[in-house]
């Protein structure tokens, strides 16, 4: 369902330039939203009374006894650094697409806390199943950002080893991965990795998906299966309010986390722009699963500050005011404020992180531009694990055919 058309409307390019590629949705538009759209937009900024929050948008820290977390300078500085670096290479991804180096980029702008909080709650032995916007989770799983580039430059469909990294490949068909995650978690339980007295032995799985995916049958079936088999899986829904152009009101009458009740397991809504709350809640949810009390649904209430992808034009369907309102809830700013105000970090720390972010962006860009088109054999490799004579023959015939063009420069250049 991702709009993979590499074409970019001129309007988007123009707006992106004007706004430095950030927050395209915040710009005024010629398209006047309907009253219904206005109401939907208001709903998208209404977070309800049940929101779990530890660090307020103003940078005030209020512990939540249900989700205890020891906050010290090292933790908060680490989370800040994670978010800044991830945002920096995400912005570089947008820029690389605009400059024709990537065919598409899927921005995570605004969702840094939802992802870094969840990602840092995972242990190496846990397993994560992402959708396609989870660059922050990839970061936490130790996947170098350059490894994400192949998908968006068109040289690869994955780029990392899902088993070794504990991070499955990006899933582009909406909701598929949620069932796969549930099956993996069923396997963890069959392996006796749940509810052991030695907590270090226990494992859990986390499935990432968006508000749009909650309408998919696969997500429903995943919750049914997870409940039936007590699977240690955290359903982590990043409700960023928009499924391309469709507001969350199109997907559900009730807050998404309420749906967990219908399946018979706990569901909570966390401030998805509060990295401490996301970390504390995800740790709790993963621990519940590891100890045998899974599954758990976590709705991280956040906002997609940028377009769905670089091919999208959000000015056609949502209000500028909405994005402006969410800018005040920025996930990084509140951590910075708290670090500075509490004396946990000074300007030299922030400068250092900024410098590191710029260096990462340079490395990310250089790697992208240097990426080579794979040889034609790549097309035939690993379609099957075991030999397949039919395919071997097709490959041999095609390579022979290509070789006949060796003295023709145009074909050879490819």
């Amino acid at each position: 369902m991702v709009d993979l058309q590499p074409t970019v409307s001129r309007a988007v390019e123009h707006e992106a330039e004007k706004w430095g590629g950030v927050g395209v949705g915040a710009t005024p538009t010629q398209a006047i939203p309907s009253p219904q759209q206005v109401i939907e937009g208001l709903r998208a900024t209404s977070r309800g009374d049940d929101l779990i929050q530890i660090l307020s948008p103003e940078g005030v820290l209020t512990p939540d006894p249900d989700y205890p977390i020891d906050v010290d300078a090292a933790l908060l500085r680490g989370l800040y650094r994670d978010m800044v670096l991830v945002r920096r290479f995400d912005r570089e991804g947008n820029a690389l697409q605009r400059q024709g180096q990537l065919s598409i980029w899927v921005p995570l702008l605004g969702q840094e806390a939802a992802q870094i909080g969840a990602g840092r709650a995972l242990r190496p032995s846990d397993m994560a199943f992402p959708s396609y916007r989870e660059h922050g989770i990839a970061w936490c799983r130790g996947i170098d950002p350059t490894e994400l580039l192949g998908i968006f430059r068109g040289t690869d469909h994955c780029g990392w080893d899902p088993v070794k990294t504990g991070f499955s490949g990006y899933a582009i068909v909406i909701g598929n991965q949620v069932l796969n995650a549930t099956g993996y978690a069923m396997g963890q339980r069959l392996d006796g990795k749940v509810g052991s007295a030695a907590d270090g032995e226990n494992e859990a799985t986390i499935a990432f998906f968006g508000d749009g995916a909650t309408s998919q049958g696969d997500v429903h079936e995943a919750m049914v299966f997870a409940a039936a088999y007590d699977a240690p899986v955290v359903f982590y829904c990043q409700n960023n309010q928009w499924a391309i152009s469709e507001p969350v009101a199109r997907q559900s009458r009730v807050p998404l986390f309420h749906r967990a009740r219908g399946y018979g397991f706990p569901g909570v809504r966390v401030d998805g722009n509060d990295v401490l709350a996301c970390l504390a809640v995800t740790r709790w949810a993963m621990d519940e699963c590891r100890s045998g009390n899974g599954p758990v649904l976590v709705e991280a209430f956040t906002y997609r500050m940028d377009a769905h992808t670089t091919s999208d034009d959000p000015t056609r369907y949502r209000q500028a005011d909405e994005a402006q309102a969410w800018k005040l809830l920025d996930p990084i700013e509140r951590v910075k404020v708290h670090l500075a105000r509490s004396g946990m970090a000074d300007s030299s720390f922030f400068d250092e992180v900024d410098g590191e972010a710029d260096a990462l962006a340079v490395r990310f860009r250089a790697h992208c531009i240097a990426m080579q088109v794979p040889p034609p054999e790549r097309m035939f490799s690993h379609v099957y694990s075991e030999p397949n004579a039919q395919l071997d023959r097709q490959q041999a015939e095609f390579l022979t055919y290509l070789a006949a063009f060796d003295d023709i420069p145009v074909a050879g250049a490819r």
């Binding site: 994955c158 899902p162 598929n176 099956g183 079936e221 299966f225 099957y384 694990s385 039919q390």
Partner: protein, 334 residues
């Protein structure tokens, strides 16, 4: 009737369903990572009893009665396979596979390629298929061609007890996903089963009966139709060479081409609708590779290009003895 294999019965004839059950049991005994999962496969033993007794003997952690959701069955099996298991999933009837089709196409078939071999999908999808049992809608279809069109899948089908016993085990040990079609109309037909002698790899087609005049190729539920046709043709002095494809993807056309080079005539028999099908592929490939050996066009006896009809009409729809003999005559008369 029991002419499943067209040869004399051995001392211990076994039904195809029982042979599958024995094969599943052997695989589960050999490898603790083999799981059986599907609707009603546990306590009930499956609606066709193919998994009868397995849950009792191996436990609920090895034989999983699943919620009624085919995408759920396939989708969770994908995760289990990633975890190192070898899930054998059962789709209760052919026409019920489509809710799981998305997971089969988008994940099962593509994961190995997507991850360039880092993830393997040793997953078996068992599907009872084909008509002739007087069933209601969605219970008598032959959807194998859809699956042959999907790169990354293996598609095989057995036509007798011996193949059922060995091929299911070979499918389970295969590191690629295998869609395993079972001819439900033949579940209760008995044939000799010698568990000590494997009939060869599951990706090979086999000449079931040698002949000289016309090559007739089929698989799964239509093989007994071919045996009957060959018997009838022999009375008229026509010698048919019968080939059981066994594997539909990849196709092992070596024996078919060899046979066509000898007979010059080919009839392909299948219950599946004709258009864009396994039979189309065979006709195309034989034309590409044995054009000068052909004395007549490749003819097909296939299902019509209609939705599967109400069961009182299915004898018109299905390939039968007369349709095959008619095609043989048309080929010879060309």
């Amino acid at each position: 009737m029991n002419q499943t294999n067209g040869v004399a019965q051995a001392a211990n004839p076994t039904t195809l369903a029982k042979a599958l059950n024995m094969g599943l049991r052997a695989s589960m005994e050999a490898d603790p990572k083999v799981l059986v999962m599907g609707e009603d496969v546990g306590k009930l033993g499956g609606v066709f009893r193919v998994t009868d007794g397995l849950q009792k003997d191996f436990g609920e952690h090895r034989v999983l009665d699943t919620p009624l959701a085919e995408s759920g069955i396939i989708g969770t099996a994908v995760g289990l396979a990633m975890r190192g298991y070898r899930p054998v999933t059962e789709i209760q009837f052919d026409g019920f596979v489509f809710p799981g089709f998305d997971q089969i196409v988008s994940q099962v078939a593509k994961l190995t390629f997507r991850t360039q071999g880092a993830v393997r999908m040793p997953l078996v999808i068992r599907i009872p298929y084909g008509g002739g049992i007087g069933a209601v809608e969605h219970h008598a279809e032959a959807p194998e061609s859809y699956f042959c069109h999907i790169a990354g899948l293996r598609v095989v089908t057995c036509s007798n007890a011996s193949d059922a016993y060995f091929m299911i085990q070979q499918a389970i040990s295969c590191d690629d996903p295998v869609v395993f079609f079972e001819p439900k109309r033949r579940y209760w037909e008995k044939a000799p089963l010698d568990v000590a002698t494997a009939p060869g790899g599951m990706f090979s087609s086999v000449v079931r009966r040698p002949g000289t005049d016309v090559t007739v190729v089929s698989y799964g539920p239509s093989m007994p139709v071919l045996y009957a046709a060959a018997d009838a043709a022999a009375v008229e002095g026509k010698s048919l060479e019968l080939i059981d494809l066994r594997s539909l993807s990849p196709l092992d056309l070596g024996p078919v081409l060899e046979s066509v080079r000898k007979t010059g005539r080919l009839v392909v028999v299948t219950e599946a609708p004709r258009e864009a099908s396994v039979s189309s592929e065979i006709a195309a490939r034989v034309t590409e590779e044995a054009f000068y050996s052909l004395a007549a066009p490749v003819l097909r006896v296939a299902g019509f290009d209609v939705p599967y009809p109400p069961s009182k009409l299915e004898e018109y729809y299905l390939p039968d003895l007369d349709k095959v003999l008619d095609a043989v005559d048309r080929s010879l008369a060309f």
